[in-house]
């Protein structure tokens, strides 16, 4: 006789409830729908230019204290309660960036301009970066117009003899070249990568060229705001190292042309900027920035450490978005060498705290081990404890938290676009006095770059730059590049490619071995198609060809994730056209 298991009674009751059954059906249907794969490629949406004329927005200041609290506490709770996000995480379908084209790239915009990764810059261009002048003239008078009230580093604002305005910042005492070199080097790198950055110059000046303007506001040691005196200026400069000839090394950051509007957040859009239509946490150039800042150990990427500027360019007035303040990068923390935890844990990292408590101290992280700072002008910066996939800024960044493998791959391409010679040229702009420090930084940046490439190129399929070309015998084909091979991370001999071919959603060929050739002959496929489908003219302009490619490296047993290239053939002239690619996340 059947007896009911007492433990199953509550479940049985639940299942007998119609309400619950409807929810279950609904959920399962959606799940099934979600599981079906759509073979047809849909073209990406072309977003409009974001440099339309707009009225001048209001300047807004981001309060760091509130932003930190919001990101550490409020935003984390919001994400934890975001069921859609959790479901995406469980099903491995994270939300992809909203502003990418058919090839996973971003178009030039007020945020980003494709530079070195698209077309390598010359060494002269790399060295110049965003600079369009020589910096402030240290042989003429500088007028101090304002003391620097924000940030942790001492400094002031000046107007030089040409009328150009600069922010002057210094290195911490005892660590000459630390922050100024980091700032200039990172400026060149971010510029070459494609971001908008200010002009930053290393300058050497004698204090005697400084004069105080009238009514310069200043906050003294007692916290009182008053007018700055010559005595105050002298006291400020006493906290700064001097060269043997009495000059001071400083960073001169030129005011960006246009009207500053304050910083931008890494979430949402700017309400009074009609051009800003893509939520920042879903912009590829902001998500992918995670990879660059990890490479450079630039942990201070909080909202407000950037700048929106209302500019007039190309006949339009619009908001342009800049990254600024790179003094906390490489091994520098602006006022001292970086603390050991920088880049590895948030400043307030509850997850890491609980993890560390539960580990009972048995898990000694590489970065935890006390390390001697080899070069005071570089600070704490090495490649040994660098984990490209587990880097942390000072507190959580919404764009970085939404960064998917595809965004990181895009960012890794920016990083890998820097050749050894380019890096060497950039580092020279830091004007280190110690050649050993320069050599150490170059070596470290190279190692970290390669680690970045190896890591992120292994998370996705790194085949890229698809084109319709012709081989030596004139046959049309789909050619591509292996970014891992291009970046010298793996050799061509170590790499093997395999492809599947589908037509109108139907699989025609599977597992065709290309060896280490980076060319798929399409004419061959056309012939196979004709034979298989017994059609002489099988193509309409809408019929999609789908070529799925995989990579295998020597010594590895697994094939990589796939990448699908979609093509169509013009029946009139039999020419192929590439629609786009779809890379597995």
């Amino acid at each position: 006789m059947f007896t009911m298991n007492q433990n199953l009674l509550p479940l049985r009751r639940l299942l007998s409830n119609n309400l619950f059954r409807y929810f279950l059906y609904f959920f399962l249907m959606n799940l099934m729908m979600g599981c079906t794969v759509n073979h047809l490629y849909k073209r990406a949406v072309v977003l409009p230019d974001d440099i339309l004329n707009i009225p001048e927005p209001k300047a807004k200041k981001i309060n760091f204290g509130h932003d930190a609290y919001n990101k550490i506490i409020t935003h984390q709770m919001d994400q934890s309660l975001d069921l859609a996000r959790q479901l995406r995480h469980v099903f491995g379908k994270p939300k992809q960036a909203l502003n990418v084209d058919d090839f996973g790239e971003v178009v030039d915009s007020s945020w980003f301009t494709n530079r070195n990764a698209r077309l390598p810059l010359s060494l002269e261009e790399i060295a110049r970066g965003p600079d369009r002048s020589q910096g402030p003239d240290p042989t003429q008078t500088w007028t101090v117009t304002q003391a620097k009230l924000e940030g942790v580093t001492p400094g002031f604002y000046i107007k030089d003899s040409r009328g150009d305005r600069y922010v002057i910042k210094f290195d911490p005492m005892g660590y000459s070249e630390l922050a100024t070199a980091a700032e200039v080097i990172c400026t060149k790198i971010f510029y070459a990568a494609g971001y908008n950055v200010p002009e930053n110059y290393i300058t050497y000046f004698h204090p005697s060229i400084l004069t105080l303007a009238k009514e310069v506001k200043f906050i003294d040691d007692k916290g009182l705001q008053r007018v700055m005196t010559e005595n105050d200026l002298e006291k400020l400069l006493q906290k700064v190292d001097r060269l043997p000839d009495g000059r001071i090394r400083a960073l001169a950051s030129k005011f960006v042309g246009g009207k500053p509007l304050g910083g931008f957040r890494y979430q949402g859009t700017r309400e009074d900027d009609p051009n800003d239509i893509v939520p920042h946490e879903h912009r590829r150039e902001l998500r992918g920035l995670y990879v660059l800042v990890a490479w450079l150990k630039h942990f201070d990427t909080k909202a407000g450490n950037n700048l929106d500027v209302y500019v007039s360019e190309k006949g339009h007035s619009f908001v342009k978005h800049y990254l600024i303040d790179f003094g906390s990068a490489l091994g520098s923390d602006a006022v001292a060498p970086q603390s050991r935890h920088k880049g590895h844990e948030f400043d307030v990292d509850t997850k890491a705290l609980f993890g560390n408590i539960l580990s009972f101290g048995l898990d000694v992280k590489l970065w935890e081990k006390p390390s001697k700072i080899q070069h005071p002008s570089i600070g704490r910066f090495n490649a040994q404890d660098f984990d490209p996939g587990d880097s942390r800024s000072n507190y959580p960044n919404p764009a970085f938290e939404n960064c998917t493998n595809l965004d990181s791959y895009w960012g890794a391409k920016l990083v890998m676009s820097f050749t050894d010679r380019q890096l060497e040229t950039i580092i020279k702009q830091g004007q280190y006095s110690d050649p050993e420090a320069e050599a150490y930084l170059l070596q470290t940046l190279k190692e970290r770059r390669d680690r970045t490439g190896r890591y992120w190129y292994s998370q996705v399929n790194p085949l890229d730059m698809f084109k319709i070309t012709q081989n030596s015998s004139g046959a049309s084909g789909l050619s591509f590049k292996d970014m891992g091979v291009e970046g010298n991370l793996w050799s061509a001999e170590q790499s093997k490619y395999l492809y599947d071919f589908a037509f109108r959603g139907e699989t025609i060929l599977v597992g065709i071995d290309l060896g280490n050739q980076t060319f798929v002959e399409l004419e061959n496929l056309a012939q196979i198609l004709e034979q298989k489908m017994m059609i002489k003219e099988p193509y309409s302009s809408g019929d999609q060809w789908e070529i799925t490619l995989r990579v295998q490296r020597q010594g590895g047993s697994k094939w990589s994730k796939w990448i699908k290239a979609y093509l169509v053939r013009n029946p009139a002239n039999s020419e192929f056209a590439l629609l786009g690619i779809h890379r597995q996340n």
Partner: protein, 448 residues
């Protein structure tokens, strides 16, 4: 189906069907990674004229918005808290001169003078004022005032390391303490938790130390002190007052319900060779004391007390530290005089066995050992702060004659863990949880 179930189904079924159809019609993109061109093309295709701007893209798709409704409801309190804190944090940010003034009031720019919060699980919450380098370099003055529940009060003044010249040093200590709910469980290692009673203890004490430095880490000298102790009725409700116990029990508790003044003469030797104050990883802390307490104006009370406390910090690896402690205390009545119960050796507080209440075990002699493992859980070099977690085991015994009655089987054991926050100047805050046969107890200390 039950009537209630039928009613629910009738009400919600049409709504659910509509919801399902509506969402299905939107073809949620949970599995599909292709974008939805129709919706977005409509938005993106709007050719921009000078005044016609494109629609902003939403950060959530429709199905995401719907599915997140319960989460959004739960999020409301956090959102409200964020909005409430925003103006305060904004004010702090935009008024640096005001906040730095407040900070300057709390601690001077050179760190030599300051006013800090202070809390102790025994004496409550209050403030601590400190001044370094007062009169002579290296001297340290602090004044602490705390108050707590049941009107407990504590006020302490300390002047430490006041150099007189050469190796001679003097220190001064005074405190006023009123604790109206101190616990008493009986005298002896086998005192029972059920025998709890409470008493009020008012103590006013002043001590002066005169000594000399024997090297950089060790100082020794003599302490002269005067203390007044008033024991009276306990103020804890629901617990019998010790003064109300049966007369035959009370007569075995010397010093109860009395006001007694004591003179103290004591020899001290203190050695502190810790490599760091905040989170030591090497070195010793040794405290040896021995002296005579004599009741004044009353020949009934007088006793010798000697104690030895050894603490060794042993570095294991990468700032993981083992702290080993052994302590012993002996109290002997002088001739035919008595030892007041509150000066007996006691086990059961943060400084002895964590997990037992203060005064849980009292007797003339005490032996105590402790093993503590500390490991870093947060390292913040640039803030000169750190957080360590710790695990500990404490064990000890009281006895009337520890040399004869020592037995590890009689040891009371407490174990647990906690967190401590420290700076280079010492411990700032700690929170501990100790478990024993009596249950679980928590200890909190802030600048104590």
């Amino acid at each position: 189906m039950s009537p209630k179930n039928k009613k629910t189904t009738r009400l919600l079924s049409p709504l659910l069907i509509f919801l399902c159809l509506f969402i299905l019609s939107l073809q949620p993109a949970l599995g599909s990674s292709a974008q939805e061109p129709d919706e977005k093309e409509e938005k993106g295709d709007k050719k921009s004229s000078e005044t016609e701007y494109p629609e902003k893209l939403k950060s959530e798709e429709t199905w995401e918005t719907l599915i997140n409704i319960p989460g959004k409801i739960l999020f409301i309190p956090f959102w409200l808290m964020d909005k409430a804190l925003a103006p305060i944090l904004s004010w702090v940010g935009v008024a640096p001169q005001v906040t730095s003034k407040i900070a300057r009031l709390l601690v001077s720019a050179d760190g030599k003078r300051g006013l800090l919060p202070s809390t102790s699980d025994r004496t409550g919450f209050g403030l601590k004022f400190f001044q370094k380098d007062l009169i002579t370099p290296g001297s340290h003055l602090d004044l602490t005032v705390r108050a707590g529940i049941s009107w407990r009060q504590f006020c302490r003044l300390r002047l430490r390391d006041f150099r007189l010249g050469g190796p001679l040093v003097t220190e001064f200590y005074a405190h006023y303490m009123y604790l109206p709910t101190e616990r008493f469980y009986g005298i002896g290692n086998d005192s029972q938790k059920e025998n709890e009673s409470n008493f009020s203890h008012l103590q006013i004490m002043a001590e002066a130390f005169l000594g000399t430095y024997l090297g950089q880490s060790t100082k020794s000298g003599l302490v002269f002190g005067l203390a007044r102790n008033i024991i009276s009725e306990g103020k804890r409700s629901g617990v019998i007052s010790t003064t109300d116990l049966r007369p035959d029990v009370k007569e075995k508790i010397p010093g109860l319900d009395e006001k007694i003044n004591y003179l103290l003469v004591q020899f001290n030797l203190v050695h502190d060779s810790r490599n760091r104050l905040g989170n030591p990883s090497a070195g010793w802390e040794i405290d040896l004391q021995g002296g005579l307490y004599r009741g004044t104006g009353n020949a009934e009370y007088g006793f010798w007390k000697a104690s030895a406390d050894f603490r060794k910090y042993q570095h294991l690896f990468y700032d993981r530290v083992l702290v080993l402690r052994i302590a012993a205390e002996i109290t002997e009545p002088k001739e035919d005089l008595q030892i007041p119960f509150y000066y007996l050796s006691e086990l059961g507080r943060r400084e002895t066995i964590r997990g037992f209440r203060r005064g849980r075990f009292r007797d003339e002699d005490l032996i105590l050992s402790s093993l503590e493992y500390r490991y870093p859980v947060m390292i913040r070099d640039n803030f000169e702060l750190g957080v360590d977690a710790l695990l500990f085991v404490d064990a000890g015994q009281v006895a009337s004659d520890i040399f004869r009655q020592f037995s590890m089987k009689e040891f009371h054991v407490g174990f647990g863990g906690g967190l401590r926050i420290y700076s280079k100047n010492g411990r700032i805050f700690q929170i501990l949880a100790g478990k024993s046969s009596d249950g679980l107890r928590f200890y909190i200390g802030l600048y104590d």
